[in-house]
Symmetry: C2
Subunit: 147 residues, 2 copies
């Protein structure tokens, strides 16, 4: 296969090795190519991936609506593909994008903005695997912060 100047051919062996779940879907991590922020997680089936790799615009399968969803067609918040990589098991994709506007339907840049859970912060220099006692753990029941 000629790559011409674009190098935009399909890597068929890679695609064949991908593992889709029982619903025919694969999770897709979307990362901002400009600042490395993780923007969202969505799902593709083989056809959505085919469209994404073919068009350079990201298309998902919407599990809630049961239809293809090319990001930005309604919102204007388009995602242009910078790269697509599979993981070692072939059951997850990482798509780096040029994101126009907000990636999240709530209007935040990332779907994870401002939604932090509180919990123990790990410390490699601390004791490891040895429960400490703490006010938070005592009040909420679960295991206390460790290391």
């Amino acid at each position: 296969m000629s790559t011409e100047a674009t190098g935009m051919e399909y890597a068929a062996p890679d695609l064949e090795a991908l593992k889709f779940n029982a619903d025919g879907l694969i999770p897709v991590i979307v990362q901002d190519d400009e600042n490395d922020q993780v923007l969202m997680l969505a799902w593709m089936d083989r056809e959505a991936l085919r469209r994404t790799l073919g068009e350079g615009r990201v298309t998902y399968w919407s599990r809630s609506r049961g239809e293809y969803w090319r990001k930005g067609d309604t919102s204007g918040h388009r995602q242009y593909v910078r790269s697509v990589a599979a993981d070692c098991d072939g059951d997850t994709l990482l798509v780096r994008v040029l994101q126009q506007g907000a990636a999240c339907h709530t209007g935040t840049r990332s779907c994870f903005d401002g939604r932090e859970l509180t919990g123990a912060v790990g410390d490699p220099d601390g004791p490891d695997g040895e429960p400490s006692t703490g006010d938070a753990a005592a009040q909420t029941g679960p295991q206390a912060p460790v290391g």
Copy 2:
């Protein structure tokens, strides 16, 4: 609930709002807190999340082995929690970690290293939604690169 000096109490309302799938699992994107590289995707059930938030070390549910898997206990490649965030739908987590050694069991730092799929690269300044013709598309059959 007192936050003491650590602020490490549990955010019970957030946890209750999380959505686990039919298998009781939630996908977890793992990002390197030092350089923002996406390292891997794995899965947690409620107990794995409870342990992770309580210990500051990341614990997953291994779907292949059917057991809890505290990252690094066997490999030494531990993950220390820097932050945990839910997404807007409450059905995905983003964990930022201090990663010791390789995150991937193959020995690469990230599970996505060197596993790029080839496809069209999007261009917001190009024509959008209008198929172009190209050597790659002609040879492989799917839609040609767009925009």
